[in-house]
Symmetry: C2
Subunit: 406 residues, 2 copies
């Protein structure tokens, strides 16, 4: 038998408690021993809830209990969660978390502390919800040099973009309000819609595949706040989907990473990932292409990933598990300036001549018009580097919007 | 350092040799120790090939070498491969294989022998090529009761069906010949096109998720030999794709399993899996839906999966790894008779009245006509059990073809 504690009895914490109870027989057989939840930390009371008998409001009950070998940190945030995680690792306890903010911010330090104390810090649920992407990278695709990861890593923004696509003409702000009403979006939605959440996740995944820490603050991050119903209409007319992608890729110049909305054609492996689903495309030098798809969020899918960590912690009781994120140094990302792409650019009709001379001085731009948008026209640029596009955009002046083609 | 041997230097064997050489640094770091290929067994000579220095034509060189702790069996077939695997396991060596015939036929016995000798029998590459589906089930989705697996598990048939769909009107036999010419299909294609290959694979995957051995010979198996250009045309007209699915599902009556072509609508997670790609849909009671997609075959993707097994064998040197397929008994499958589905049925136009009275005595059948097929008409049945459909089909007499809707 191995004893565990849960820090936080919120959405994910109660999910973890219930998954372990519901699937106990299977879980114990897979863990190789019985897993017992000895404490659950929460300041609230839950009268009548089965958690009552193990509830505590004192973290020291857990930190000081030498019987507790596994601690599940599902409090979120980086204040108390950071202090508690550090303390538990120092006390020789394995820690399993769904806390992507904490892993992205302090993962390097926490993993060093785990190493020094001969325990494990697991964070499967921090990326891709129920998709077992971290374990796939650490334990499954081990024969490959993984040189690219491209993911739809945020369910909220994918839900918003899908709704905008399926309900032609509906605005970003209207869908956001609906998502907030349904509980698919936070009241302060900035981490999602401005792309910080997927930036944290791609930083974590990159750190695993490249070995050294990628700082999410170094990643070029553009969200979907500016995507309008008209942008979606152009995309649909061309047979493209707009998706918020988070990508990290090994190139001749080093590792490049970015989060931004992209236009994907129907053959792109992430084209048909809709609603709150997440998906991660991985390229290995031997494997070729692989895609992992699943629920990106939700109490039970997230809890399923956390409990898989708990089982792995039980399997590795007293042993260190392999984690690709194993170097102490930080990875300096390469500049994105040289990446070449085509862009869809919307401008006012009267600026068409100027657009041609700036964006295609040696040829003619293909333009796309949509019937009910008479004042404007869109065109597709030739392949331009990020740097060149930026220069030309400045030279041109006022554009309505621009989206990168993948 | 841990020493390994490879049985067979064919497509997969040479792939394994090359992957271990090419990615040695990463592989050794993930294995926790250096992996050295000490012997490669093949009766052929390979002058000038780097394998020459470790080549042997005598199996005893490997079986008798106490230094060899990991044996890669990639010979295929169930004759010598079976004898050699048994002997290696008995000699206390871990065995990693891509041999789905052998695992489906003798997996239960070989796993018992591995258990008795405290070693591991790994077979990641036996299902889904490079997709890490077996490790996902054994080591990643461990918190879940997996109650359904539905896969496109055969690249050859998926390639044929995709070609037939994308090149409107091309016949099965023409695409098969083309696939044989390209090396995508065997000269004797029966294991693929008659569905025996995916039946073996779904038997292996079912044995892992349900714990007891599923015998592939118990699985209802229907291939794609009868799928015609006209069937594909009806499917496309309706917006459906025809896919050869292998499915195992826990129901109130027990586990049901089958391999058959199905009509999938655009929202089905396997609808857009095209060409030689494989994909596996998995449903977990906590996780919900997850899909794993990747190259189903090919030297390097398959070798990538085998080498991941070799790394796992090195990580578990002297220890047993968890495998869900852990019970010694055989699983008796439930009958498929009661499964209710709609069917697309093609008949001669003159039999339309009779079709209505047999298949929809209380209503009217929706019919579908395709311009250039004047002599026939197709209709969609109401939901009927497999048993009922069979009875009605007999009562009706000659139909042109029928395909199940998923």
């Amino acid at each position: 038998m191995i004893k565990a504690a849960i820090l936080g009895y919120g959405t994910v914490g109660s999910g973890v408690f219930n998954v372990i109870k519901e699937n106990s027989e299977l879980i114990n057989s897979r863990a190789g021993q019985e897993i017992e939840i000895k404490h659950v930390l929460d300041l609230r009371k839950f009268p009548g809830d089965p958690v009552e008998s193990v509830l505590t409001d004192n973290f020291e009950d857990i930190a000081d209990d030498p019987e507790v070998k596994i601690v599940v940190e599902v409090m979120g945030g980086i204040g108390a969660a950071y202090e508690f995680t550090k303390r538990c690792l120092e006390e020789g306890k394995n820690v399993c978390t769904s806390n992507k903010e904490l892993v992205a911010e302090h993962g390097l330090e926490l993993m060093r502390i785990a190493r020094e104390n001969d325990v494990n810090y697991f964070f499967e649920a921090s990326c891709g919800g129920g998709i077992p992407i971290i374990r796939a990278l650490n334990d499954c695709l081990t024969a490959d040099d993984i040189d690219q990861i491209t993911g739809i890593l945020n369910g909220t923004t994918n839900f918003i973009l899908t709704e905008m696509t399926q309900n032609d003409g509906v605005s970003f702000s209207k869908v956001l309000k609906q998502a907030q009403a349904n509980g698919f979006a936070e009241r302060d939605p900035s981490a999602d819609i401005d792309g910080y959440d997927p930036a944290r996740k791609i930083a974590i995944l990159s750190s695993i595949i490249f070995g050294s820490s990628v700082d999410y603050k170094d990643i070029y991050t553009e969200g979907i706040r500016k995507i309008s119903a008209e942008d979606i209409k152009y995309a649909s007319t061309m047979g493209y989907a707009v998706k918020l992608l988070a990508e990290a890729k090994k190139t001749g110049d080093g590792v490049r990473a970015y989060v931004a909305p992209f236009l994907l054609d129907q053959n792109h492996p992430l084209y048909s990932i809709n609603g709150v689903m997440n998906a991660v495309y991985v390229h290995g030098n031997m494997l070729g292409d692989a895609v992992f798809t699943g629920a990106g969020a939700g109490s039970l899918p997230t809890a399923s990933a956390v409990v898989a960590d708990v089982i792995d912690a039980a399997r590795h009781d007293g042993k260190r598990a392999y984690c690709g994120w194993r170097h102490d140094e930080k990875l300096a990302l390469a500049s994105n300036d040289g990446i070449k792409r085509r862009y869809l650019v919307r401008i006012y009709t009267e600026d068409q001549g100027k657009a041609n001379s700036v964006f295609a001085p040696d040829g003619f731009l293909d333009t796309i018009s949509i019937g009910d948008l008479e004042e404007e026209v869109a065109f597709i640029t030739p392949e331009l580097s990020e740097k060149d596009f930026e220069t030309k955009e400045k030279a041109f002046g006022k554009i309505i919007s621009r989206i990168r083609f993948y």
